[in-house]
């Protein structure tokens, strides 16, 4: 009896696993289709984008054949998928290096920024959202509402510029644009690519504190948008929980209000919260493009915008693909965590 049930369970598990793999593969193929569409179909003539409109006829034809544009469209797509599958994103016109190498080099900087911003968003946003729900329609709730509304209405690059003006220009509390001061560059050998960790490993505390003073402002600006989103969502989840019957039961049993909120209700919203945090992490990648431009932060966002202005399509599409893949990966991760933590979703 139990053996047959175990067998059925394993079969179901395998089928689910198969469906999952198929879903991931289809989504990735979709991402490739979109970038292919943007790179090959949208421009009126992709060859002109490479050679310029002054090129002689034979050069034009050579590049056209090299790009595979004399093939039928489905064949071009198939060649594109094959190249991408082995990580050949082409060569960047700006740096003259493989795009994938470039991205691997700049990505840790973006990761560093987005991670610190998310930590700020969770540490401040969750308690604020809870306070908003507990003191509904009183001043903490109004504050959460205002922060949320402003977060949805302020251009992030403007907030960054204003932050630089006030905290760097006027008050002088933080370092200016960039990731490290000129005198601190190349002291630490990169191991993880995340300067804060590398400096700590090497024991170079002066470098570490210089890096901290550079990262505080951009991370705070990005973190603000994370706070706005996380606090808003936490508030609405918490309001849902506080109207449940188990809360009344707990109160009737004489449990302290703090215990009800921070132990019982928080445990129940933790699953939804993880989804929201993963989503906000993914959204920070988007905010990072503009923030990195303002703060001259050498990450993926700045790499993308530099490539854009130089019309370097290989780098643009490679970067877009990586961001899309990370976005999809975070969504899948939050789905998986959801199922792991909530027995009802299994």
């Amino acid at each position: 009896m139990s053996a047959s049930m175990g067998g059925a369970g394993a079969l179901r598990g395998a089928r689910r696993g198969g469906e999952f793999v198929l879903q991931v593969a289809l989504t990735l193929l979709g991402l490739l289709a979109v970038t292919f569409f943007i790179g090959r179909v949208v421009p009126i003539d992709p060859v002109l984008a490479v050679v310029g409109d002054q090129a002689p006829r034979d050069v034009y034809e050579a590049v056209r054949a090299e790009l595979g544009l004399d093939q039928p469209l489905w064949m071009q797509f198939w060649l594109y998928v094959q190249k991408m599958a082995v990580g050949d994103f082409g060569t960047s016109l700006v740096t003259n290096r493989p795009v994938l190498d470039d991205i691997a080099r700049v990505f840790p900087a973006t990761l560093e920024l987005a991670t610190i911003a998310t930590i700020i968003g969770v540490v401040l946003g969750v308690p604020m959202g809870i306070a908003g729900a507990v003191y509904q329609d009183r001043w903490p709730d109004q504050l959460v509402r205002v922060i949320g509304l402003v977060g949805y209405s302020v251009p992030i690059f403007w907030l960054g510029i204003m932050g630089l003006l006030v905290f760097y220009g006027i008050l002088g509390w933080v370092a200016g644009p960039g990731r490290l001061g000129v005198f601190f560059e190349d002291i630490v050998t990169p191991i993880t690519g995340v300067i804060l960790i590398d400096a700590a490993i090497a024991g170079e505390w002066e470098v570490f504190w210089n890096a901290v003073s550079h990262v505080v402002l951009p991370a705070a600006v990005l973190g603000y948008f994370s706070i706005a989103y996380i606090a808003r969502m936490t508030r609405s989840f918490m309001l849902d929980q506080l109207s449940q019957e188990y809360v009344i039961t707990a109160r009737a049993k004489g449990l302290s209000e703090a215990r009800i909120i921070w132990v019982h209700a928080l445990k129940n919203i933790s699953v939804q919260l993880i989804t929201v945090i993963a989503l906000s992490y993914a959204r920070l990648l988007e905010g990072a493009v503009l923030t990195e431009t303002v703060f001259a932060w050498p990450g993926l966002g700045r790499y993308l915008t530099t490539a854009l202005l130089a019309a370097d399509m290989n780098a643009v599409l490679g970067g877009t693909l990586v961001v899309g893949a990370v976005f999809v990966g975070l969504n899948l991760l939050s789905d998986a965590l959801y199922k792991l933590m909530d027995p009802r979703a299994r």
Binding site: L149, S153, P155, W158, I161, T320
Partner: protein, 308 residues
């Protein structure tokens, strides 16, 4: 005026609008509209949002009469003047152009972007969503998979890639933003369609021999409009911010166009000494996106009470 007892005429039309037994379809429709307005009016912040949006429209329409200067006229002897200068009350930029006049003309560009993006993206989403929801089967599977793929990219990144392929410029920025904005509308329209596709009145229309296109157009799409309007209004702030971001990166409106995001980008170089050049257009963006957010919240409470 508002007291029905003091004014016979007022109480008359109001009673006619609020009656429970309307005599014609138009009277019922107007009455419903009026009830919605009464409810909307109680939300003071939403009314404020509406007033600001109306002000934006008025400023955009009458820009040549409101602006004090030609927004493109340079005067290098009067560059980077602070706000409060006689003749240029919001100061001037790095070419000595009047900031206030540029803001006024910038309202036209902002409004144009918002209206065009909504006019392109909402019909695409409506068509994709209602077709997927009503037809079901493989059409639904294909269309929704397509929608998911577009949703898999953060919208600014996808818009950047489109602009890179199309070339920088305001028209291309609008197309790029519209191409990234439609998927949520398709989702909403599909969800609405699925809840109503098995209704009796749809079955009646089908039995009367209405074609699929007619059922979609005349029986399903009108019912999706309310939730779509709410969502589009709430998205307008995001559209404004994305457009400003593209302008800031130099990929949207090109100089010398008076676009607010591009104005911030130009003022950025002078921000430590002449803070106002970058600050003032930012405040304009905040006020307008805030207004659209407040208006959208108010409309949602009236048109779509389930989701508030």
């Amino acid at each position: 005026m508002n007291n029905p007892r003091t004014s016979g005429a007022t109480s008359n039309w109001r009673a006619q609008l609020l009656t429970d037994t309307p005599a014609s379809r138009n009277q019922a429709r107007l009455g419903q509209f009026y009830r919605g307005w009464l409810q909307f009016k109680r939300n003071k912040l939403a009314v404020l949002g509406l007033l600001i949006v109306l002000l934006l429209i008025v400023v955009a329409a009458f820009a040549p009469w409101i602006a004090t200067h030609d927004p493109y006229a340079q005067d290098l002897s009067r560059r980077l003047l602070p706000p409060g200068t006689p003749g240029n009350w919001l100061g001037t930029d790095e070419f000595g152009r009047d900031t206030f006049s540029r803001l006024v003309y910038g309202a036209r560009i902002t409004l144009m972007i918002v209206v065009l993006v909504a006019a392109i993206a909402a019909p695409i989403g409506l068509l994709v969503g209602t077709a997927a929801g009503y037809l079901g089967g493989w059409v639904d599977a294909v269309l929704m998979r397509l929608t998911d793929v577009f949703l898999a990219f953060p919208s600014l990144i996808l818009a950047l890639a489109f602009v890179a392929a199309l070339g920088p410029g305001i028209e291309n920025a609008i197309i790029a933003i519209a191409l990234t904005a439609w998927p949520p509308y398709a989702r909403i329209a599909r969800a609405e369609t699925i809840t109503i596709r098995n209704s009796d009145y749809i079955a009646v229309a089908r039995m009367q021999g209405a074609r699929t296109a007619r059922i979609l157009w005349a029986y399903i799409m009108p019912l999706c409009i309310a939730s779509l309007v709410v969502r589009v209004t709430l998205d307008m702030a995001g559209i404004i911010l994305t457009a400003a971001g593209l302008g800031f990166l130099g990929l949207g409106a090109q100089p010398p166009m008076a676009e607010w995001g591009a104005m911030i980008s130009a003022g950025r170089r002078y921000v430590l000494d002449q803070w106002w050049v970058a600050t003032i257009p930012g405040i304009a963006i905040i006020v307008v996106s805030l207004a659209f957010n407040l208006l959208g919240d108010g409309l949602r409470d009236v048109l779509d009470p389930r989701k508030s």
